[in-house]
Symmetry: C2
Subunit: 232 residues, 2 copies
DNA sequence: ACAAAAGTGTTCTGTCTACACCCATGC
DNA sequence: GCATGGGTGTAGACAGAACACTTTTGT
């Protein structure tokens, strides 16, 4: 049978993916925005994204766009929500499958935002009004991150391979917008048995340097297959 | 400026919505399936769904399809996930924005599944192999329901307006696939203050009849705006 | 020696868990 | 009066919250 005989004749919306890229740096949660060089919304900031090709699924599209626009690769990425309001794009009917990504800003700070780039990191408290319905998308992305960080070990995706306990706590405090008790936090995190202690401390500070840890991904994978649930 | 000048020239996938409709009845979680009358997958069971029109967003599309195919209206519905694999539909490139709905089966049992209808309720333990990638979609929908019922009061959407405590507990036990202690369950639910006691019991049984309750939606809305979080 | 941040244990409190007996109803 | 399922309270275990002093390091 011919594929053709099955073809749909309905009018079709355009389909894009957009990616909300979170980073964490200097005690702030940040998001990467691109300044639009074309209409509509020329000069406004928006999330990186682009059109779905016919030979890729939306995950691949989001990863591809992420790489093309920011040089970022091999990062945590997850589908967020699909936006489909009729008038969300003045050019016509566009459906956007949104994703959010978590990146280790320490690794990528240099690439995006350098020299003449039109990409820039904004602390989420200082994000300007965005193009399209991207303000709404950002709110939803932040809510997802906040909800998920408590019961999935995704916070580590925002920190360098090696991080200290105060850094990890600061990340949680920032994302959850609440203060946490130092002793209780450390106890709870270490109890999971998922941190590798490097027996190595931060040097060159005018005070005691914190110990370096890293997250044991392999162990987490094993444990979660046995029904273990991360929770903080 | 003309809208036309903005028009995208990329090839476009077709876009549909599908709806996983859950019901609860006779102590079983059930899902509504439609027997396909056309190729591809003719004769196989699949979720109700259809093409997105150019004048509706995906929420509206899902509600419309739900109503057209099952006569169901005014029910809980929520976007689940968007599926976009290149070969998921033999007819060509089709992207599906999936939704799940929770319905009070007691109200709708008669409509779907009557006489010569091609719709039927299946206990989730007895769902046959489905068309397209609908098996995968169902697994994801069940996982979402299971995850969400604990911290959002969505279980009530599956029960009649008035329900008894044993019915509610049976629903939770079924969805969560675990036994719950009767006294502790009742205590925890009543502690929320969100159940209205009708001071009325089930009659005509060969034993003590259970009391009727209903869920106080209005109070829940007020409380949740003040930061209250439902949890069971 | 002092300033600055990291590291560490214990008590208290409230929540979750486990559990057994009486009650109402229809036959 | 008996079989069936509904309703109720309490004691022990456990986890979460609160909290203060000592250690290290650079200047």
């Amino acid at each position: 049978m011919e594929t053709k005989t099955y073809c749909y004749e309905y009018p079709r919306p355009a389909v894009t993916t957009d990616c909300i890229i979170f980073g964490f740096d200097e005690g702030e949660l940040k998001v990467l925005l691109i300044k639009r060089g074309i209409e509509p919304f020329i000069g406004k900031w928006a999330f990186p994204g682009g059109f779905l090709q016919m030979d890729e699924n939306s995950d691949q599209c989001a990863l591809r766009e992420l790489y093309e626009e920011t040089g970022v690769k091999n990062v945590f990425i997850e589908q967020l929500y699909t936006f489909s309001d009729v008038d969300r794009d003045p050019r016509g009917r566009v459906i956007t499958i949104s994703y959010y990504a978590l990146i280790k800003l320490s690794d990528y700070r240099l690439k995006a935002g350098d020299d003449a780039s039109n990409a820039e990191w904004f602390p989420i408290s200082k994000v300007p009004p965005l193009a399209f319905d991207h303000d709404r998308i950002l709110r939803i992305a932040i809510a997802r991150l906040r909800g998920k960080i408590r019961y999935q070990p995704i916070g580590f995706e925002l920190l360098p391979e090696k991080f200290t306990m105060p850094e990890l706590q600061s990340l949680y405090e920032t994302v959850l917008e609440m203060q946490l008790d130092r002793r209780n936090f450390r106890k709870k995190i270490l109890e999971t048995g998922l941190l590798i202690d490097h027996n190595e401390t931060v040097k060159g500070l005018p005070h005691k340097g914190a110990k370096y840890f890293s997250f044991d991904k392999k162990k987490y994978k094993e444990l979660s297959e046995k029904g273990f649930n991360f929770e903080i």
